[in-house]
Point group: C2
Chain length 229, copies 2
Amino acid sequence: MTELLEGICTTRAIRRYRPEPIPEDDLATMLFAATRAPSGSNRQPFRFVVLRDGPVAREAKAVMAEGFQRIWSAKREADGYDSGSGADASSPKARMARTMERFVERFADTPVVVLACLRRYRDPDPVEGASVYPACQNLLLAARALGYGGVMTTWHRAVEDQLRPLLGIPEDVLMAATIPLGRPEGNHGPVRRRPLREFVYEDRWEGPAAWAVDPDGARFTSAGPPRTG
Amino acid sequence: MTELLEGICTTRAIRRYRPEPIPEDDLATMLFAATRAPSGSNRQPFRFVVLRDGPVAREAKAVMAEGFQRIWSAKREADGYDSGSGADASSPKARMARTMERFVERFADTPVVVLACLRRYRDPDPVEGASVYPACQNLLLAARALGYGGVMTTWHRAVEDQLRPLLGIPEDVLMAATIPLGRPEGNHGPVRRRPLREFVYEDRWEGPAAWAVDPDGARFTSAGPPRTG
């Protein structure tokens, strides 16, 4: 299944959407694919609140947009997006800043926003995300398969206190991710990451894995936040 | 990309492996695909410790096997795998019990075990899994693309106190998931889940989404742990 592999390696974070809505059939197909993901003991505790054009959905998207703008402004400053190479408008950093600016400015108009949730069945736990984020990744991959694109963010947490009562989300439910979806203005394509050897160890932590080499043509991260690895 | 969609919907949890090793090229391809996953601010904090045939790897797999056997025994009892429909050897519950029994008994001989980790760059957080579990899902899908199979478990936590010093994993690293991989003895194929309408809401928590209907031929969960939804 070479197309499966290719699809995985070419699913980019898409933050610019054309204004057209997503047909309900396609939405159902994407969410069906999302829910094929694994979860602990196959308990299937993932839930998806889909926000489109209803009055509550519009209000929720506006609340998120306001929170996202606030976070982005702080991050732009803190991560120095306008200094260093960011001062050059043609740099990757400056391009990313323009994309983010547009993303948060127009967020309320995103065709579809999916709020992925985890219905907890035990106390909060560092590995509980194993039962919701695989489904989020399936959703992003399925979107790409159908010609859409999206991005996963947790920035809704800045406005969680407003969103929870507005959407009626119970206290024991984790609001795990916000995933805007739409037809991309840009394109999917090979994603950039650090060299594979930085991620893959053998036998023990930081044990070298000589075989962990990137394929020909792999693209590497050239700019971004400070490296932590 | 229909094959991408089909691959997502037919990636089963594979717990029975043929004894053959996985060529290093294939391992590299799978891990490359894993690391194409998104992470918060594209910080790429996921790390993969690959356990194959080295002496430390063998010991770690044996330690995990012992922990898994303990967890499975307790779960078999607690979830009543041998009572109710489980008393009928041909029931899905009894079949699952046999698969699990074999999985834990032979775990130490699994060709490859990948321990997926998260190198934390801030305090533990309920949404930190967003930066490691998408990569785990990519790994499982890429395995399926190349004719392998695996399953994601967090059962390593029963023996984390032994594994951490053995593998030299720093205290600030989350041991997020254990993913055994190998050539499947069984087959991939459509997975079973609850009806889509139980997962998908519109506009608000539990808001009905009339369009969220399963495609023709969808298969449904017929047995398993108590429903929490």
